[in-house]
């Protein structure tokens, strides 16, 4: 049992947890800035970047893919800003125009290029294949964790995601004050030189990095779910920012573990002889947690009165968008 777990489940679980935690941490700021859907947009635009990198380099090497995806993400953010400003449309619509176009381009590129030899298809891009990331060298059981040769044979996604999670934590620590001030009051932030524009752009770059790194392992849908569901649930639990981040990490870890276990063993418990998509199940569990938080979270109503709770005032959303654009002009 122990050996089976180490070989089959340890790495997917660890990767799932890392993806969920890194996305959820950044997601707190996206939710507070009313930019939740940036995560959605970025994880869609990654597809043409990855396919483009494959066409250019002819390999599925991680470095090229990550670079291609990163370039596509930054390009998309720039385009969203241009569409929003020139067309004077709401940020959501500008985002919708750009990310669907990018995704369509990715789908077309994929169909047009010969990717049959490599593991690259749209379904994979959408929901990944977490279960396939097994660690054959872990056949020695838990002892393998101490064996350098076995460790060297770990799926490369694991160290990569560990690095990204570390980078996310570092980013939040270094720019904590700037992120908080810029999120709460961007005009004030501008006036004290906290550079809200560049900082929001950096946040989006980090979102892209997290999405791109996670994408390869788990697909885009879980990434979107993790950017939004744990932070949104956490927001309904507390009125303080640091506890909110802590709650979001807890929810992310619970979603990852419970989702993975339910996907692998749930159908067996129900008497079926197959397992279901772990990525899909993790998103489902995150959604269930959010549903519970919506129904019973102690701070679910926030401090707004019922009358004002209807729809967000548009000015703040656009405000942050404009601070992004300021940074883009630099």
């Amino acid at each position: 049992m122990g050996t089976d777990f180490v070989v089959l489940s340890l790495v997917p679980l660890a990767i799932g947890i890392l993806v969920c935690v890194s996305c959820a941490l950044l997601g707190n700021f996206l939710v507070l800035r009313r930019q939740s859907l940036i995560g959605d947009a970025v994880s869609h635009v990654v597809l043409p970047g990855i396919v483009g990198a494959f066409i250019v380099t002819g390999t599925v090497a991680a470095g090229a893919m990550l670079l291609g995806a990163g370039i596509a993400a930054v390009l998309a953010v720039l385009l969203i800003e241009i569409v929003r400003r020139v067309g004077r449309v709401e940020p959501g619509a500008a985002m919708g125009v750009v990310f669907t176009t990018f995704f369509a381009a990715g789908v077309l590129l994929l169909e047009q290029s010969d990717t049959s030899s490599v593991h690259l298809d749209v379904e994979h891009a959408l929901y990944g294949n977490l279960e396939s990331l097994i660690w054959l060298a872990g056949s020695a059981g838990w002892a393998a964790l101490l064996d350098p040769a076995a460790l060297a044979a770990l799926p490369p996604q694991l160290p990569r995601l560990a690095l990204v999670t570390f980078a996310v934590v570092l980013f939040l620590l270094v720019f904590w004050k700037e992120l908080v001030i810029g999120t709460f009051d961007a005009t004030f932030a501008e006036s004290v030189g906290a550079r809200p524009g560049p900082v929001s752009f950096a946040l989006i770059v980090m979102v892209a990095v997290a999405a791109v790194a996670a994408f390869d392992a788990v697909g885009s849908i879980i990434v979107i779910a993790m950017f939004i569901c744990p932070p949104a649930s956490a927001r309904l639990m507390t009125d303080r920012l640091v506890p909110q981040l802590a709650w979001s990490v807890v929810f992310a870890v619970v979603s990852a573990i419970a989702g993975y276990v339910l996907a692998g063993y749930g159908p067996l418990w129900l008497g079926a002889a197959y397992s279901v998509s772990a990525a899909g199940m993790i998103a489902t569990v995150a959604g269930l947690i959010l549903a519970l938080a919506c129904l019973a979270g102690p701070r679910r109503f926030g401090t707004r009165t019922a009358a004002r709770r209807r729809r967000p005032p548009p000015r703040r959303a656009s405000h942050h968008q404009s601070s992004i654009s300021n940074s883009l002009q630099v």
Binding site: F184, D185, T303, R304
Partner: protein, 274 residues
């Protein structure tokens, strides 16, 4: 008229012409597309003055201070703060945005917001320490909000929120306070508390610039006034500038002549209404 030369005293800059002015603005123009929001505003704030920026809705009052502080891009014009470009004098300004411009449901306490005023002092890569917390508390004390330090900001009333914003500005220990509608939607007690703090600051030699919407209180609260409606209509001491003629020119047909007469002439009118 002598032959006009372009650059007065060849090569002097705006800052050199007004080295002491906390805020000097020359030819400031802001536009959205081809519609100017502000057109060619020239304005020099005297040191130690208490200035009201007055004008009808949509006259560009808020845009004026945002453009002066570099928050909104301008298409023409120069601005200096204490004789230097804004970026170099940032630490000498405390800017208080409109209360309604932020989401008060943000997960932060009153103290957290005031600590934002210490942003420059805390410095890069550092977090607020005990000293900063005490400073924040002292600023809250000055606006009568010390008891609320650990309260979530969304639980405050409008007046209390404005006091917190003022405390944040106090924490900046600036020489110029630029405030956008500090009295909008606050209760009478808060209005008195805020003006008391502003007068105290003014007494200590600080300069105050407020976008202000209540004409009746202008003569009571301020000593200088800038009347704008896209263009500058007039500026100067309240006694000579805040006249019914100038107000009529600022507000046009939108303000009944009788009302203009009342607020411009009668200082006592300010006291009666409240």
């Amino acid at each position: 008229m002598s032959t006009p030369t372009l650059i007065a005293d060849n090569g002097r800059t705006l800052g050199e012409s007004h080295p002491d002015s906390p805020l000097a603005v020359n030819g400031l123009t802001v536009s959205y597309g081809e519609k100017p929001v502000l057109f060619s505003i020239d304005f020099v704030v005297p040191k130690g003055a208490m200035v009201a920026i007055v004008g009808p809705n949509g006259a560009g009052k808020s845009t004026l201070i945002k453009a002066a502080l570099g928050i909104v891009p301008r298409i023409a014009g120069e601005v200096t703060v204490f004789g230097a470009p804004y970026e170099k004098a940032r630490h000498r300004i405390a800017y208080v945005p409109q209360r309604a411009s932020v989401d008060w449901d943000f997960p932060a306490t009153v103290r957290d917001v005031v600590l934002m005023g210490l942003y420059r002092e805390i410095g890069f890569l550092r977090f607020a320490g005990r000293r900063h917390r005490e400073r924040a508390l002292a600023c809250l004390e000055r606006v009568g909000m010390a008891a609320f330090a650990d309260r979530q900001i969304g639980q405050l009333s409008g007046g209390q929120q404005q006091r917190v914003f003022l405390a944040r500005a106090l924490a900046q220990e600036a020489d110029l306070y630029v405030m956008d509608e500090p009295f909008a939607g606050v209760d009478a007690a808060t209005e008195r508390a805020i003006i008391a703090v502003l007068k105290e600051l003014n007494g200590a030699g600080k300069t105050i610039v407020c976008v202000h919407h209540d004409l009746a209180t202008v003569p009571d609260y301020f000593d200088h006034v800038l009347l704008v409606n896209v263009r500058k209509i007039a500026d100067g001491p309240v006694a000579t500038t805040f006249t019914s003629h100038n107000l009529q020119a600022t507000y046009g047909g939108r303000l009944a002549a009788a009302h203009v007469e009342e607020v411009a002439v009668g200082r006592e009118a300010a006291g009666e209404g409240r």
